[in-house]
């Protein structure tokens, strides 16, 4: 089976490639991204192509003619790039890679990375939305993820190709460049003054495993992939031994600018999470993809906080002097 992993340079994309290398049915694994993979890969091949170089990306994918596309070319704002750049790369990579994969003529299955951000702030109709709740994103990242799902669903409609959209809870881990993870590790963390809504997290290894299982089982349709349990902003801050800074609703703009000065860019979808929470019903994914051992939100948080702080190393010359 010929598999294309877009966004292989990210933490989860690299992990997906590693999991695929362990599967005998994955004969050929090829990945593209604008940065190289974050770990050593044994069998998988990598091509460094920036999604903004559309012609090169389209040419490569069309020539490769994948049977399966694992689409991780979805970039979170304020993780490794500015929100505008993330939205641009996500759109270009999605449209170019998926359309070229269809033109390759062998495409059998597509699985795309999406997120709980597509549901927007929790509504009175469902506090914990399942896959049947109509998406209504309120943040630019949520809208970007929904566009990815819609672009992939077009392949199902026009070409009859099964498409899965994995709606991940925020993926946080010690090696994942995530704006939420960065924010929670600041010494002082802004939290809502008048609320403490629950949010769920997902471990990067579980996110990668879910993608591989979706390919194995060829699930068609959206699935929420969510770590069991939840946490709240106040609780998470105390768990990490940080100082909570209560922020009243009108002051969130000033608070995010202050946090950016401290070195953690905060995107609107992160503010939305802190103010309104972000949870989803993940029981279907556990059942359909066989994800029994998902790490809980609390475990993901503990792992994040157990990661060592950055300690400046005394230069050798100073040490000698």
């Amino acid at each position: 089976m010929r598999i294309l992993v877009t966004g292989m340079g990210g933490e989860i994309g690299t992990r997906v490639a590693q999991y695929l290398e362990e599967r005998a049915w994955a004969d050929e694994i090829v990945g593209v991204d604008f940065v190289p993979p974050r770990r050593r890969l044994r069998r998988a091949e990598f091509r460094r192509i920036d999604p903004r170089d559309r012609d090169r990306l389209v040419g490569f994918v069309e020539d490769y003619a994948p049977q399966v596309v694992a689409h991780f070319g979805v970039y979170e704002p304020a993780s490794r790039m500015s929100p505008a750049s993330a939205a641009e790369r996500t759109e270009l990579c999605t449209v170019a890679a998926l359309s070229a994969a269809v033109r390759g003529g062998r495409l059998e299955y597509v699985v795309v990375r999406s997120g709980l951000e597509v549901y927007g702030p929790r509504s009175y109709h469902a506090t914990v939305p399942d896959e049947y709740v109509m998406p209504a994103p309120a943040s630019p990242y949520g809208a970007s993820l929904l566009e990815v799902e819609v672009a992939a669903a077009r392949l199902r409609r026009r070409h009859g190709i099964p498409v899965a959209a994995l709606r991940y809870a925020p993926v946080v881990g010690s090696h994942v460049p995530s704006p939420l993870g960065r924010l929670l590790r600041l010494p002082v963390v802004p939290v809502p003054a008048c609320a403490d809504p629950p949010f769920a997290l997902l471990h990067p290894d579980d996110a990668a495993l879910a993608m591989v299982r979706a390919i194995e089982r060829r699930h068609d349709g959206p699935l929420n992939v969510v770590g069991p349990g939840a946490a709240t902003p106040w609780q998470a801050v105390r768990l990490g031994g940080r100082v909570p800074l209560p922020v009243a609703p009108p002051l969130w703009g000033a608070a995010t600018r202050g946090v950016e000065v401290l070195g953690a860019a905060v995107a609107p979808h992160v503010v939305e999470l802190l103010r309104h929470g972000r949870v989803g019903a993940g029981a279907r994914a556990v059942e359909i993809l066989g994800l029994d051992g998902l790490r809980s939100t609390q475990q993901v948080l503990r792992e994040l906080f157990e990661w060592a702080d950055v300690v400046p190393i005394v230069p050798a010359r100073e040490a000698v002097a």
């Binding site: 469902a126 914990v128 349990g229 939840a230 990490g240 019903a281 809980s296 609390q298």
Partner: protein, 248 residues
């Protein structure tokens, strides 16, 4: 396995196992070491408030053996205006089975919403009710409130479809004092579970309507028995061999 059972910190989100000393509880709160479920339920905070609630809302429990010791079920009870009946059912379930109870009817107001959810309330959304049942919990669904607590109110029809997936236990809650006053302990009587017809499709609207009628009749019957001296008083229960389990 319920997704919530994967939580740690030694607290079971479905069952009361132990309670911390005040010092240990304060340390736990300050350190953030307590579980939260996706609906916002905080079992540790709930445990801390239970002594206060049980002191204020005293209950006599009857038919506690009808409340499932494991697995999901819906408890449908009558109610008046206010939160007295849901609080009485919560205390009664805790005493009868040691299980925690979720109550449908979280406040939609911004600050109160978060607070009530912390204590186990869930919204009146069929999806949320189905989600809590799927996670294996006990959920209380009050009938529509009645003036002066005189009978069983209208069943919450939009929620009934979600309730066709698990047993439904009718519950009658009556104030112990004369003229509906709570001078004496509240009487909480659990009836035999109404099990949805296995032949019905889960979520079938007709099956849900039948279930709604059956449950309302069961609650009305329990309330009627409670008001008839021969069958509803403690003496009457003693004759039928089903007296109150315990009394505080």
């Amino acid at each position: 396995m319920s997704p919530l059972q994967a939580l740690d910190y030694g607290l079971d989100p479905d069952r009361v196992t132990h309670t911390d000393s005040p010092l240990a509880a304060a340390r736990r709160r300050l350190g953030g070491r307590y579980p939260i479920d996706p609906f916002g339920f905080d079992p540790h905070l709930s445990d801390l408030l239970v002594p206060v609630v049980t002191a204020v809302v005293r209950v006599d429990v009857g038919g506690g053996e009808h409340v499932p010791a494991h697995g999901p079920a819906t408890l449908v009870s009558n109610r008046g205006f206010g939160v007295a009946e849901p609080a009485a059912v919560t205390v009664a379930v805790r005493r009868a089975t040691g299980r925690r109870l979720r109550v449908v009817g979280a406040s939609p107001l911004p600050f109160l919403s978060g607070l009530t959810r912390r204590l186990g309330a869930v919204s009146t959304s069929p999806r949320d009710l189905a989600g809590v049942l799927r996670a294996g919990h006990l959920v209380a669904v009050p009938l529509a409130p009645t003036w002066l607590r005189t009978g069983a109110g209208t069943p919450p029809l939009p929620l009934m479809q979600a309730m066709t997936r698990a047993p439904v236990v009718p519950v009658a809650v009556t104030p112990g004092g004369p003229l509906g006053t709570a001078i004496r302990p509240w009487r909480v009587r659990f009836g035999e579970p109404v099990v949805p017809d296995p032949g019905d499709e889960p979520g079938d609207p007709l099956a849900a309507a039948r279930l709604a009628e059956a449950v309302r009749d069961a609650v009305a019957d329990l309330l009627g028995r409670d008001r008839r001296p021969s069958a509803g008083t403690i003496a009457g229960e003693a004759r039928s061999g089903r007296g109150p389990d315990r009394r505080e």
